[in-house]
């Protein structure tokens, strides 16, 4: 057990800190949360700067266009960028944090060369077409059909809750290539495809979130033709590939946000001191408690990263443990923020009020808390399957 940085890690941190101090003041103003094209341009611009400075895809394998750095360096990157208040991955979330890593792990050399560099450069944005109106938690119940026609799949069906679909170029799409019948378990017969969002037959209809924004969308697919070469993994083997994607999504995709929460907590403490709420021991103690909890979650992240490094790179079920603890702590954080701000917490023009609203999604998106608990109970604790 050792948490002291190596000389190399110290140097990396110092260099990054210096670079951030130079580039952050040069960034354009943040677009409004509802302006998706503006947000995409902003996020892509930031990604491009990272790329040019050699900070893109730090922990991606070198043959996938990454820097091949160890996960510890990636953690330092997340810590420093958050501490400095740098932009978050935003529209690049899916490409950088799970579609990209999945293609790096499961794609052919050709596929890696085609799709990964543009993600790293910020040129192409990805979205995730997994959920359907009838298949959320029960993802394997998906019904969007793909029928083989020569060198193409012809895809028909619909997807829902697709984040960033409005501005995405590519979609990691799950389709059913073999219909379910009495003999095939529904997990078989699923295939993982990369779908260009501008293909004929794709219609995107934005959905309004409870925060008032159009964060996600519904997608209608009407005989969309996707080349067979866009398939990652074998036909009907998509469930296994999906598990790789989900392990990245649950295991590492939220890591950077822990640092963001710690920063928010510090700001809240200062606000409470300024507005007098700090004198209320209930408020003070709640802040102290969350400070302890988020500190522990950051350490849990370092622990999990060490573990996945030892076991070959794909995050394990420890990601579900982290996601459960983190998603609930994040919601508590914003409830305590409301305690600090009192009626001020009703003013929508405050950025953190929007964050409070969006925090409500964390116990649902990427697998609900109930589903995570099932995973922990069955796969880690070995309890019997059941209902």
């Amino acid at each position: 057990m050792d948490l002291t940085p190596t000389e190399e890690e110290r140097e990396f941190r110092a260099r990054l800190r210096e670079w951030l101090a130079k580039v952050l003041p040069e960034l354009p103003a943040k677009p409004s949360p509802d302006d998706w094209p503006g947000r995409r341009a902003y996020d892509a611009g930031w990604q491009r700067r990272l790329y040019d400075a050699g900070y893109a895809g730090l922990h991606w394998p070198v043959d996938a266009g990454g820097q091949g750095a160890g996960p510890t360096r990636h953690l330092i990157f997340l810590e420093e960028t958050e501490r400095a208040g740098a932009p978050y991955v935003g529209a690049n979330f899916v490409g950088l944090l799970h579609a990209g890593p999945t293609i790096a792990a499961e794609g052919t050399a050709e596929q890696r060369a085609r799709w990964l560099p543009p993600v790293l450069r910020g040129d192409e944005v990805w979205c995730q077409g997994f959920s359907e109106p009838g298949a959320g938690s029960d993802l394997a119940a998906l019904r969007t059909r793909a029928v083989r026609d020569g060198d193409e799949y012809v895809v028909t069906g619909s997807k829902i809750w697709t984040s960033h679909a409005e501005v995405a170029d590519w979609c990691e799409l799950l389709v059913r290539t073999t219909p379910v019948d009495a003999d095939t378990p529904k997990h078989r017969g699923i295939t993982w495809l990369a779908m260009p969002m501008d293909a004929p037959g794709v219609t995107v209809r934005p959905l309004r979130t409870l925060a008032g924004s159009t964060e996600f969308a519904e997608m209608f697919l009407d005989e969309v033709r996707i080349p067979v070469g866009h398939r990652v993994g074998a036909e009907d083997d998509g469930w296994r590939v999906t598990m790789v994607t989900l392990s990245f999504e649950r295991g590492t995709a939220f890591v950077g946000e822990v640092v963001a929460c710690r920063r928010t907590l510090g700001e809240l403490a200062r606000t409470a001191k300024a507005n007098g709420r700090w004198d209320d021991p209930v408020v003070r103690r709640a802040l102290g408690r969350l400070h302890g909890e988020f500190g522990a979650l950051w350490r849990l992240t370092q622990w999990n990263v060490g573990e996945s490094e030892r076991s070959g790179g794909v995050p394990g079920t420890g990601g579900s443990v982290f996601k459960l603890a983190y998603s609930h702590a994040r919601q508590e954080l914003y409830d305590v923020a409301a305690l600090v701000l009192g009626a001020g917490s009703l003013a929508l023009d405050e950025e953190w009020v929007l964050d409070r609203l969006s925090s409500l999604s964390y116990t649902i998106a990427a697998g609900t808390s109930q589903i995570q608990r099932n995973i922990v109970a069955e796969r880690i604790l070995g309890l019997p399957k059941g209902r």
Partner: protein
């Protein structure tokens, strides 16, 4: 940086686990409850021989020369086995109270707020309180059958050892939380109702999953505090470990149903001990206040 335990650290932990399994298994635990002899002097000496108390004493002073990370690993094992007695105070006394390092002396501390002191009647010394034998003390019936209490007129909390005492106590709590999780999972896999193991029911499964989450978060907090020695991290470790131990014991009791409410099941022993430890060295309120100050001062 590699936060995972080293091979030597794993071996050390396995060694202590083996020793405790052989010397303080379930029968020994139940025998101490029956006999009301909480501190088993022979076990105490064996722990001393194994280096449990002298673990952090420099080799030049006859110790093992290891640090807090190793100490929390072995205390976690003692918490898992629910070893009674003032383990933390005796460990802290190694090097200052004769016999503590070797386990030939039993040393307690007035680490509870107020006037209650644990194991007063069984101790040879009280940390930081010379001449304690002449101090008037009155026995008090204790909620935990394995932690006898005395009421003492003046019992100052030994400030110098507060952080280390809190951290080692947190490690005991984590061990207990992991143990009650194991007990719950085992029972959930064995006990059948409605024609299937109760662990197949989601309501039960989810209780167990939450137990794991609590224990894992607390465990990393304890390990991290042991590595950094940071007072804020130590306070967080105590806070989270107290909660993990108390709430896991409760959930374990719930999973055991009526059986959980009996004297025969071990669950109540874990719960009562967790309550005692939550009051030792640093309470939740103190930890939260300390963390709040830490936050405001921008230690992040």
């Amino acid at each position: 940086m590699d936060f995972q335990p080293t091979e030597e650290q794993r071996d050390l932990r396995a060694g202590v686990r083996g020793l405790l399994a052989a010397r303080y298994g379930r029968e020994a635990l139940r025998a101490s409850v029956e006999s009301e002899v909480c501190v088993d002097r022979d076990l105490w000496r064996r722990l001393g021989d194994a280096g449990f108390f002298a673990l952090r004493l420099p080799e030049a002073e006859g110790g093992v020369g290891l640090g807090l990370p190793e100490a929390v690993l072995v205390f976690e094992e003692a918490g898992r086995a629910l070893v009674p007695g003032p383990l933390v105070a005796t460990h802290l006394a190694a090097g200052t109270v004769p016999g503590a390092a070797a386990g030939t002396a039993v040393v307690t501390a007035s680490d509870l707020d107020g006037s209650l002191v644990a194991h007063w009647g069984e101790a040879d010394a009280v940390l930081g309180l010379p001449g304690f034998a002449s101090t008037p003390a009155e026995p008090v019936r204790s909620a935990d059958p394995l932690t006898p209490l005395h009421r003492v007129a003046s019992a100052p909390v030994p400030g110098a050892h507060r952080d280390e005492g809190a951290l080692l106590t947190a490690a005991l709590q984590v061990g207990s939380a992991l143990r009650t999780l194991e007990l719950a999972v085992r029972y959930a896999g064995e006990r059948e109702q409605f024609g299937r193991p109760i662990g197949a029911f989601q309501a039960v499964k989810h209780l167990c999953a939450e137990m794991l989450v609590r224990a894992e978060v607390a465990r990393t907090a304890v390990y991290a505090a042991a590595v950094t020695g940071d007072p804020g991290e130590t306070a967080a470790a105590k806070l989270l470990a107290d909660e993990a131990a108390v709430r896991n014991a409760r959930d374990c009791l719930q999973v055991h149903g009526g059986m959980g409410f009996t004297w025969e099941a071990d669950v109540h022993l874990h719960l009562k001990r967790a309550w005692v430890r939550a009051e030792q060295w640093r309470t939740a309120a103190e930890a939260e206040e300390l963390l709040a100050t830490d936050l405001l001062e921008g230690a992040v």
